[in-house]
Symmetry: C2
Subunit: 114 residues, 2 copies
């Protein structure tokens, strides 16, 4: 497998990045992604919750329950393992988008330099 489904994992990337900055809960993350990207990207709860659970299972996140106004919120924070994973995702994201950008901006190909 050369490209591990080469564009996937962006939700994971965004979520880890948000949680690295501050402890947050699921419903809050959904809203935060919308506002932070000015509605360019809008992930539903059906995307966010499974990602949170998977990341916690892998040990990249840890959670604690907290009651606020009678409602229970599950707050997540990034573990050291999560930081490592985030760094890798960022590097991969940068590498791939740079490559695509170079490919689509290039005038045509290796033009003969005089």
């Amino acid at each position: 497998m050369v490209n591990p489904n080469f564009m996937n994992g962006v939700p994971e990337l965004l979520i880890l990045r948000l949680l690295e900055a501050q402890e947050m809960y699921g419903y809050e993350i959904v809203a935060a992604i919308r506002t932070k990207t000015a509605d360019a990207i809008s992930l539903g709860e059906g995307v966010v919750y499974p990602v949170l659970h998977a990341l916690e299972r892998e040990g990249a996140l840890k959670s604690r329950r907290k009651a606020v106004n009678g409602r229970t919120r599950v707050y997540y924070t990034v573990t050291r393992k999560g930081e490592t994973r985030l760094a890798g995702l960022v590097r991969q994201w940068t590498h791939i988008t740079d490559s695509v950008n170079r490919a689509i901006r290039e005038p045509s190909h290796a033009s003969v330099t005089i």
Copy 2:
């Protein structure tokens, strides 16, 4: 559907961009993407051919058969409709990647400016 599967269509984008620069055939496109992106992105024939067929069906490409060294090649060129489609894909790509980049680079959130 807010994000029409918001990261898809990159193969389509790359293929249209290559064909905009010059007429090419499938097998050649597969190799070109590998070299142009320095192996960062490597699309197999199982990705490229279906995209070519779909684009032609939609009228974004047109093809002509050409015999070279006894072998038949199917060369593709971009139609006006394809140019329009390409422009849209580039705009969408730029918009989304910029949004993600802004989100992951941002120090934390709206920090209070003094």
